[in-house]
């Protein structure tokens, strides 16, 4: 849906005075939103007791990747004019671009293994371990956004996304440490 809106806007020149900038920012925003949604599935599923939410996780994940690809495409096309040498230099030189690009690279194997047979091929355990990379991606994505806004001290939105992702990751951390303690405790009692 957001894609259709952006596409329509670009075709009809309805994205303001600087449509390139608008598209780059909007696709970045939507990547972050879908990343939040993807990571919200498990906490919501467990706390609300809604196992059927799991069905949507893969779709959210794929949308995250879809928008990050668009984001990268907009940057390298609209901003850099597909000048590969310039893009390579930009990635190497600018930490905020490097961080964003790393997040994209880390997401790629996750997107490439987002289907049932991949889970069978890798084995559920290895698949899950691989897909935990998304936690690193979340941190990198917020850092990328933070750095982008740092020059103007304009952190309101960064804090919103940062807070949401922090809560989602912290929930996992707390849960896993509880679980660990529980396991150790049960080891003792046995």
């Amino acid at each position: 849906m957001p894609f259709a809106w952006l596409f329509w806007g670009a075709a009809n020149n309805a994205l303001g005075a600087n449509p390139a900038e608008y598209l780059i920012r909007a696709t970045g925003d939507w990547t972050l939103r879908f990343l939040c949604l993807t990571l919200a599935v498990t906490p919501l599923r467990v706390t609300l007791g809604l196992p059927e939410l799991l069905k949507h996780r893969r779709m959210f994940g794929r949308f995250t990747y879809f928008y990050v690809v668009l984001h990268l495409l907009c940057y390298s096309w609209l901003d850099m004019g597909f000048e590969w040498a310039d893009i390579a230099r930009d990635i190497a030189k600018r930490p905020f671009i490097l961080v964003g690009f790393s997040a994209f690279v880390l997401l790629t194997p996750l997107a490439a293994t987002s289907f049932n047979r991949a889970i069978r091929w890798l084995g559920a355990k290895r698949w899950q371990r691989l897909h935990r990379t998304v936690y690193v991606v979340a941190v990198l994505a917020v850092l990328h956004f933070f750095w982008m806004r740092a020059g103007k001290n304009n952190f309101a939105e960064v804090f919103v996304y940062g807070f949401v992702l922090f809560v989602l990751l912290a929930w996992r951390l707390v849960r896993s440490s509880f679980w660990l303690r529980f396991v150790r405790l049960s080891d003792f009692t046995r």
Partner: protein
């Protein structure tokens, strides 16, 4: 054998131009710029009138605000022949953080700005300090139309026909003392009418500064209007600075104080992020911003979505006029 000039043989009568004889396009364009300047400047009244007609004809008047006409400027570089950005873009895509950080915010929220009455306080190391009303400022020197490129530090640019006169006219009038080395510009920060002043994006009021020789350069403009009308609020009404060879943020809006000082002032962006924004902030394609390249720019409203960005010019294309101000300075260090 002596040759009769009037009866040339077929092989010497007309020499075909070789590729080396053809005027390169850049030189040709330079000549055109030179011709424009001559037309607008010292040579012959008839030429000047012809230039004036052309300059006025190409600036569309939006008919939204009170008209404010300016005559043709004789200042070198003040009449770029590039396509003028549409008024709609120039008045809706603005950085004016006192009205919000999004570029569409100023056009939405700047209507609260009170521009009447308005006065500018002249302070510091001058023989004639004091408060000047806007009407006095408007009458201080004949208004000119100046068509300048505007290059934002964010990597976009516009071409805007400003109305105003050289800041030097005001400076000469107030007679700076010998130890006045810099000029500091203080802008309005009214929490009642400017919602952005409540956010802590920057320290308010917004302050900018120029070295005295920069401020005295004829291209440095004290502007009261654009597109033949008074300035819209979101563009810095009622009086602002325009320094076309520097990044846009140096051109402070809605001026309330002009202060003459001995030490280099600390400008707002320099205070906020000194590693990103220097005091000079001359447009320079060779010195990148830490987070993006400054080698190219997107001309708003003109370069299509998929068009390559255009190359940014040294001193925003005003090198011939202002380059000598920075002779011998390491512009990589003093960015």
């Amino acid at each position: 054998m002596h040759r009769n000039l009037f009866s040339r043989s077929s092989d010497s009568g007309f020499t075909h131009p070789t590729i080396g004889d053809v005027t390169p396009q850049s030189l040709y364009l330079q000549r055109r710029e030179w011709l424009r300047q001559v037309a607008a400047g010292a040579a012959g009244l008839s030429l000047a009138a012809w230039g004036a007609r052309e300059a006025i004809a190409q600036v569309p008047h939006p008919g939204k605000l009170a008209p404010l006409a300016g005559g043709v400027s004789r200042v070198s570089g003040a009449n770029t022949i590039e396509k003028i950005t549409s008024y709609a873009d120039a008045s809706s895509y603005n950085n004016y953080y006192e009205f919000g950080t999004d570029k569409s915010d100023p056009a939405k929220y700047a209507h609260t700005l009170q521009t009447k009455p308005w006065s500018v306080e002249i302070e510091g190391l001058v023989k004639k300090p004091g408060r000047m009303d806007l009407d006095d400022l408007l009458k201080l020197s004949p208004l000119e139309e100046r068509i300048y490129r505007l290059r934002c530090v964010e990597g976009w640019s516009m071409v805007i026909p400003w109305v105003g006169y050289s800041l030097a006219e005001l400076i000469k009038r107030v007679e700076p003392l010998g130890n006045a080395k810099y000029v500091e510009f203080v802008t309005l920060a009214d929490p009642k009418t400017m919602l952005g002043v409540h956010s802590r994006v920057l320290d308010w009021p917004y302050v900018e500064g120029l070295r005295m020789d920069e401020a005295m350069h004829p291209l440095a403009l004290l502007s009261f209007g654009m597109y033949g009308e008074v300035l819209p609020n979101q563009n810095g009404a009622p009086v602002r600075l325009v320094v076309p060879w520097k990044y846009g943020f140096k051109s402070a809006k809605s001026l309330v104080k002009i202060r003459f000082v001995e030490k280099q002032p600390v400008n707002s962006w320099g205070r906020s992020a000194p590693q990103e924004y220097g005091f000079y902030s001359n447009v320079n394609p060779n010195v990148d911003h830490p987070r993006w390249s400054q080698a190219s720019e997107r001309r708003i409203g003109e370069d299509g979505l998929f068009a390559k960005k255009r190359k940014t010019l040294m001193f925003n294309g005003y090198e011939a006029q202002v380059g000598q101000l920075y002779a011998g300075m390491d512009l990589k260090k003093l960015y």
